[in-house]
Symmetry: C2
Subunit: 253 residues, 2 copies
Amino acid sequence: MSEAENGAPVTAAILVIGDEILSGRTKDKNIGYIAEYLTAIGVDLREVRVVPDEEAEIVAALNALRHRYSYVFTTGGIGPTHDDITADSVAKAFGVPIDYDPRAVALLRQRFKGSDLNEARMRMTRVPQGADLVTNKVSLAPGFWIGNVIVMAGVPTIMQAMLDEVGPKLKTGKQMLSESVRADAREGDIGSELGELARAHPDATFGSYPFFDDRTGPNTNIVIRSRDPDKLAAATGAVHDMLREVKARLKVS
Amino acid sequence: MSEAENGAPVTAAILVIGDEILSGRTKDKNIGYIAEYLTAIGVDLREVRVVPDEEAEIVAALNALRHRYSYVFTTGGIGPTHDDITADSVAKAFGVPIDYDPRAVALLRQRFKGSDLNEARMRMTRVPQGADLVTNKVSLAPGFWIGNVIVMAGVPTIMQAMLDEVGPKLKTGKQMLSESVRADAREGDIGSELGELARAHPDATFGSYPFFDDRTGPNTNIVIRSRDPDKLAAATGAVHDMLREVKARLKVS
């Protein structure tokens, strides 16, 4: 992984393609996985969209996203059936031709001999001109990388293997660092104070995650984030100070 | 639920608001739930977006979606902390004022007496002018419904209770019917044939969902969908015929 040369944040979007996600039949497991993966390597996920298997929708979303973020990761729609139209839609978005890719055909030939490599399976070898293949250790059918768009499978195990393949080649920003503090207070008791801390520490962010502790009741995790370790430490110290003050006050009242 | 009067499909989008989803810290559980819920009542979920806790992003996404679909359901960003800016952003998108809503204040007063209803908790009573409250059986803090936008909590149990509240009031389209057929064939062996069926049955859709059966290996579920029961039956019959032919052919070869 190479850090972006000018130190600018490296950003990303995910485009999930598939009627089955929108109908609720399949529950997406890729967004959370990719989000965590990108955060860990210092790429800021800024937006996610889910669109149906319709060319116009895919093209419009892809063009909106690819001009706006450093990378776009797509999942879904690269299988062997008629509703798998991602590759053709990506080619259309980039305005480049698409055809059966000899490298992809050679990959599938490793498993499918003679007429077993039928018209349906040949769909999976359609790759836009100028794209690099994204091979993976789970499935022979490849994804691909064109411009700043990385096209991956929808099946989570295959998508994850493809992400492992492209991850080391991504440019990455300065990694976001974080600290987590268990508040032992209700979110509503510390909300104003957290807002003040956010204003006082503009280089850090303060996330507030309420949860219910079965033993002690409503509680909150505070997650402090910064790219600068000193600023993170200062902001985290300020959170601990704030929590002491709030608890002292709640005890008195 | 009242069916849309002109028989036109009723459409929807989901707008998930929250840095915690984009960082991967919190895994979204609402998209799949709402998708399934809407499909069951005959509302077509057409698009999902996830955006950060930033006013400009929320306003832009909301305005893009609310003019395009019958309904927009938002989740997240209506809690008591400084990064909960959904209500104010929705007011801005609609160009209406926002203030502490006496109905919402009265709800929170049921639990929080005196200074316990502090500045942070009062944030949860901010509701855009003209909105109806969406109360729920899990939390006192309400969501709201303005125009065609329904603003709900991000915590799944609360979101689900709010959806139960608004569901019966939604206009709904003709319900999508579906049949599921286990192919006992690999997706790549039936892909071309499914494509032909899709062309021959334009009023039905044919989804193909590969899965791995631990006993028998790669397999596929085919899901046939139509709003017309007769067309669904015809399309499902055609799938069974196709599967018989494919299996006979594979046996011979």
